[in-house]
Amino acid sequence: MMWAARADDGYLVGGLTRDCLETLRGVPMLVESSDPRVRERLLPDTYDSAEDEQQWREHSTPELERLFMSRLQIVRKDLAAVRKLEAIDLWVLLLPDTHANAWLASLNAARLALFVLNDLDARHLERDGDSLCTDKQREAVWRIQFLAEIQCILMGEMESMDDLGDPEDGDDEEHGKGADIDHGPMHDGPIPPLS
């Protein structure tokens, strides 16, 4: 069971399985993907006019690309500091408050990339969308929803999330003060997407 808890300078996310960790480590690769479907979605057409669009791409696209890359540096740095709990196959990740915007945007980009790379449409993300999915799509939907849960943690949306206790209190061993999050293989669609 994944859990999240508030620390002084950010959120601690624990109980991360190997699949969760692999999904998080895949975020930079997804955002950097050169697949035209991903580039088209992350850098969409902005103007109807071809001339205006060309000018927009000359000026705006390089800036956006630089911004995406600088955010990924932050994400990579945090991922490099992920800690494995001894004796069990679970990991803990600290998401500092100062990195929240970089994480939120990068997670969103990765979710969009997963969506277009796996030929998904809105129906696949609905509660009963499982029956429409191939195995590969099912896995992609799981990753999209898992990354959404991380976004929700960063936006402070997880209910019953208490502050992490003072380590001196001695009750931090169980990590029981954070919110438990079920991240089983197919979510029941608890997170409302835009449509």
């Binding site: 902005t46 969103n108 449409d121 409302p192 449509s195």
Partner: protein, 102 residues
């Protein structure tokens, strides 16, 4: 002797007025629906980018959700481009279109 200059001045004024009208046509910043981005994330981005109050940000987000798109800001082209870039930086699907001339 005085007629010609007055007529010329009048013509010049007409031309300037037309030009100003064309330049002043504002631009709409439009956010389009997508099935992936979280509603709460969209609201948060609207607040962050435009400084909108929560109620307005939520109303616009719901308009995107229900109508498929929403005009989230209207004004001069330069500022519209700044906003479009900021919204795209958060991966909201954003486009710009000039307001139709009446």
């Amino acid at each position: 002797m005085t007629v010609l200059p007055r007529a010329a001045t009048k013509e010049k004024t007409k031309t300037e007025t037309r030009t100003k009208t064309a330049v002043a046509r504002p631009w709409n910043v439009i956010v389009h629906d997508d099935p992936v981005t979280l509603m709460t994330y969209v609201t948060r981005v609207f607040i962050q980018v435009f400084g909108y109050p929560d109620s307005k940000a939520q109303r616009l987000m719901m308009e995107v959700h229900r109508e498929g798109r929403s005009i989230v800001w209207t004004g001069g082209r330069e500022q519209a481009e700044v906003y479009a870039q900021k919204l795209q930086a958060h991966h909201l699907k954003t486009s710009l279109e000039q307001v139709d001339a009446e």
